[in-house]
């Protein structure tokens, strides 16, 4: 019973903040709501018993990405943006697309309406660690390369004129 409450509240929180991110006129506010939504997602992870992912989500997203976005928003924010409409004129078409996609997604979702979680969630950190350094060693190393590339890219793009 507790589990349902936790699930519904967290998902409501996530979805509402996501809507806010998308619809809110003020970019700063939407970035804030982004952080909130990511936190909601982290909660869902916790509800699903994925403890390591819950922790990772909190560290990476909520604190890292959301904060980063806020910095950038602050950096680029200008007063003139406030009274500009933040949504271009194609929202009707987008809505239509989402409606159609929604029909398809819900149809699939109904397929698994009967699958119920079996057994209590187990701590997964030990297994993830063993998996990463065992079977998935190569992808693990590769992903580190991706991050390195992203780092270099970011540094390269934001270099000022005189450095070139």
């Amino acid at each position: 019973m507790l589990e349902q409450i936790v699930f519904y509240s967290l998902s409501l929180l996530t979805l509402a903040s996501a809507l806010a991110v998308v619809l809110h006129r003020n970019t700063v506010h939407s970035s804030l709501f982004l952080g909130l939504s990511l936190a909601g997602v982290a909660g869902l992870f916790a509800a699903l018993g994925a403890d390591f992912i819950f922790a990772a989500q909190i560290m990476v997203y909520v604190s890292g990405v959301a904060v980063l976005v806020m910095f950038v928003v602050m950096l680029l924010g200008r007063a003139s943006d406030l009274h500009l409409r933040q949504i271009n004129e194609r929202w009707m078409a987008a809505l239509l697309v989402c409606g159609v996609a929604a029909v398809g997604l819900f149809k699939i979702a109904r397929l698994h309406s009967a699958t119920v979680a079996t057994g209590a969630p187990r701590p997964s950190t030990h297994d993830i660690g063993r998996l990463f350094l065992g079977e998935w060693l190569v992808p693990f190393e590769l992903i580190s390369l991706v991050l390195l590339a992203a780092l270099l890219g970011a540094v390269f793009f934001t270099r000022t004129e005189n450095a070139r």
């Binding site: 019973m1 998308v22 997602v41 992912i53 997203y61 989402c98 699958t115 992903i143 992203a150 970011a154």
Partner: protein, 105 residues
């Protein structure tokens, strides 16, 4: 309210989150808005991954491991995205998607 939680619940939540992300990406005029919507989509994917892992393969952790990967990729992507945005902003002094049509056919 007493029905037990099923995988479809999580799928619906993830689906909705994903759709909101898509809606955002398509309609937001501000590139940062787009980036944020993309973040939402990534997260929707993660929810699905973890949910599937939890419901269908409780014994293994591949779902969660994959979610981790998605996170790293998302992070990398947002970093690069923002770096690009800064470079563009410095260059064109605008962050609105309509103004960038350099690659016009």
């Amino acid at each position: 309210m007493t029905a037990p939680l099923t995988l479809s619940h999580y799928m619906i939540v993830a689906g909705l989150l994903f759709l909101i992300g898509v809606f955002g990406a398509l309609t937001r005029r501000n590139i940062i808005g787009i980036l944020m919507s993309i973040e939402l989509m990534f997260n929707a994917a993660n929810i699905n991954l973890v949910a599937f892992d939890r419901f269908l393969h409780p014994e293994g952790v591949t779902g969660q491991a994959l979610a981790l990967f998605v996170m790293t990729v998302a992070a990398a992507e947002i970093v690069v995205g923002l770096a690009l945005l800064l470079a563009i902003y410095r260059g064109t002094d605008t962050v609105y998607a309509e103004d960038f049509n350099l690659l016009k056919g």
